[in-house]
Chain length 337, copies 2
Amino acid sequence: MDEMTKVAVDAMGGDNAPAEIVKGAIEAVNQNSKIKVYLVGKQNVINDVLSQHTYNKERIEVVNAEEVIDTAEPPVMAIRKKKDSSIVVALNLVKNNECDAFVSAGSSGAVLVGGQLIVGRIKGIERPPLAPLIPTETGCSLLIDCGANVDARPSHLVQFAKMGSVYMESVMGIPNPKVAIVNIGAEEEKGNALVKDTFPLLKNCPDIHFIGSIEARDIPTGYADVIVCEAFAGNIILKLYEGVGATLIKKVKAGMMTSLRSKIGALLVKPALKKTLKGFSLEEYGGAPLLGLNGLVVKTHGSSTANEIKNSILQCVTFKEQKINQKIKEKVILSDS
Amino acid sequence: MDEMTKVAVDAMGGDNAPAEIVKGAIEAVNQNSKIKVYLVGKQNVINDVLSQHTYNKERIEVVNAEEVIDTAEPPVMAIRKKKDSSIVVALNLVKNNECDAFVSAGSSGAVLVGGQLIVGRIKGIERPPLAPLIPTETGCSLLIDCGANVDARPSHLVQFAKMGSVYMESVMGIPNPKVAIVNIGAEEEKGNALVKDTFPLLKNCPDIHFIGSIEARDIPTGYADVIVCEAFAGNIILKLYEGVGATLIKKVKAGMMTSLRSKIGALLVKPALKKTLKGFSLEEYGGAPLLGLNGLVVKTHGSSTANEIKNSILQCVTFKEQKINQKIKEKVILSDS
C-alpha cells in the first residue's frame, strides 16, 4: 500500500462538478494502478454519479463533506467557517497524512488560502507559489507565481526560481532547466524595482541555470523552462494566454466560414488543426501545483472537464515518486542557510 | 498652409529603414492631401531612396541629420550626446512648432525619453503614457501605459484613464468609452497595492465611464475601450499579445501542412483566413502615441513596414484636427484643479 499515491479530490469544485470530476477520477485510477482517489463532498450526490459508472471500488472511496465553498466567498472567512466543506475536509486529509495530495477545480482563493493555513508551508519556505505549466512552441514552461499573494519580495522570487527548477527537472524531466525572470527588456538595468533587486540575486544563485530576462513576447517560444515573476504579472500572463488563444481560434473559425471555398477548406483542415491546437491548450497539462507545502495541493481550471481532472490526478504520482518536497527541502531551504 | 498637418518622420529608425519608412511617407501624402512629411536623417541616403520613387516634391521635404541612435544605446545618454541624430533633430522640429508630430520606428527608449526631455510634458501632466491600440474581437482598445516609466503612482493611473478616454472618444470616435483597470479578479478588494489604491480614485472620478476591473483573459474580447495599467504590466500585455498570436498562427500553419488532405484545405481557406487575421494584427493600428506632450510623438514597431508607417502618419492628422492636446488640457488638467 505504501507505493500508492493517495489523492483527495474536491468532488464539489468547478463548473462541471460533480459529474466530470468523478469521471476524471475513474479515468485516473483506470490509467494508473498506483492511485487511490478519495472523492470528497456530499456523499449522496457523489454516489449518485458513481452509480452511473463501473469502477474499481477498492481504489475510489467517498469521504463525506456536507458544505461547499462558493467561488464568490471571501477565502479566509470561508476556510475558517466551513469546517465541513469539501475543500477543508480534503485539506485535512493531506495535513494528517491520510492523503498525499489534493486536487480541486473549486475556488482558487479558498484552495490557496486553505493550502497555506491547513496543510502549511515547508519550514523555511517564505511563500508558496502557484505554478502552472503553459504550452510553448517546443513543449511547456513553468510559470511561477500565478498565486493569490501579490507584491512579492526579491527573496520570494529566488525561492520560486529554485522550486521551479526542482519541479521542471524532476517532474518534467528537463535537465538543468533554464530560468528567466519576466522583464520589459533584455538588458540587466531594465525593469521595475522588484526585478532590478531580484536580478543580481538570481544571477549569483549557484543552484539554478539563470539565463537572464525574458520579454513576454518570447514566453510562447519556449525560450525558458522556468519563468519567474510576481503573482500579479503571472496572473496577467496566464489569463492573457487563454484570452488571446480563445479569441484567435474564434477568428480562425470565423475566417473559415466566410465563403463557400473556405468552408470546404475548413472541412479538410479541421482534423489536423484540431490535433495541433490541442497541443497548445492549457488544459493538456493538468492543474497548477501550489509548491512549498507539506503535501501537494493542485488547483485545476474552474472549467475543468474529466480529462484535466485525470491529468491533474496523474501528476500527483510523479510528484510523490520524485520526492519533490524532499528535494525542495534539500535544494531550496538547505542551500539558503 | 495652416490646415496642413506637418509630420517629422525618423527616416533612420527601425529594422526596415530607410526604404520602408520613405515608402510609407510617400503613401501617406498620396492618400491625404493635408499632410506634409519631413523625412529626417542622412540626406544622401534618403535622397537615394526617394530617387527610386515618383512623389509630390512639395509635400515631402528632407531634413539632414548625420547621426543615428542605435536601439542598444542607453536612451538618456544618447539623447544628450547625439544632438545631430534623426530623433533629436525631429523632436526639435516639434518643440519649435515647425512640425505637429513625430513618427519613429527607432529606439523606443530614446523616443520616450527624448519626447519628455525635448518636446516636454503639458503643464500638469505628471507622466506621459505610451498608449497603443490593440485589436479585439469587436474592434480595438487603448492599452495605457506601455511606456518606459514603470512603478507608477495612483494619480498617474487616473490621468492615464482620463487621457485614454479623450483619445478613444475623439480619435477613434467611441462615445463615452468604457474604462477598466487591469486586475487579477473582478472584485474591488482584489489586486496589488497600486490597483487597490487606484480603484476608488477611478470609481469616484466624474469625467470617465469607469466599469471596474478587467482580467487579462477579457482584454481580447473588447470588454473595455480604455485599459488602464502600470507600464510593466502594460508591456507584458502588449508583448504577450504579439507572442501568443505569432505562435498560434505558426501552429495553425504547421497543422495545415500535416497531411495531403489538410494541405489542400489550406489552399482553400488561405485567402479568407489571411483577411480575418489581418484585422487582428497589431500593425493595422499604426503606432502608439505618447500622450500628454506639447506635440504628438508616435512610436511604431521596430519592424514597421511602409503600411504601418503610413497608418502612423495618417493618425497624426486626426490627432491634430481633433485638438487632442487642447482637450487633454481641458479634461485632464483643469478637472484636476
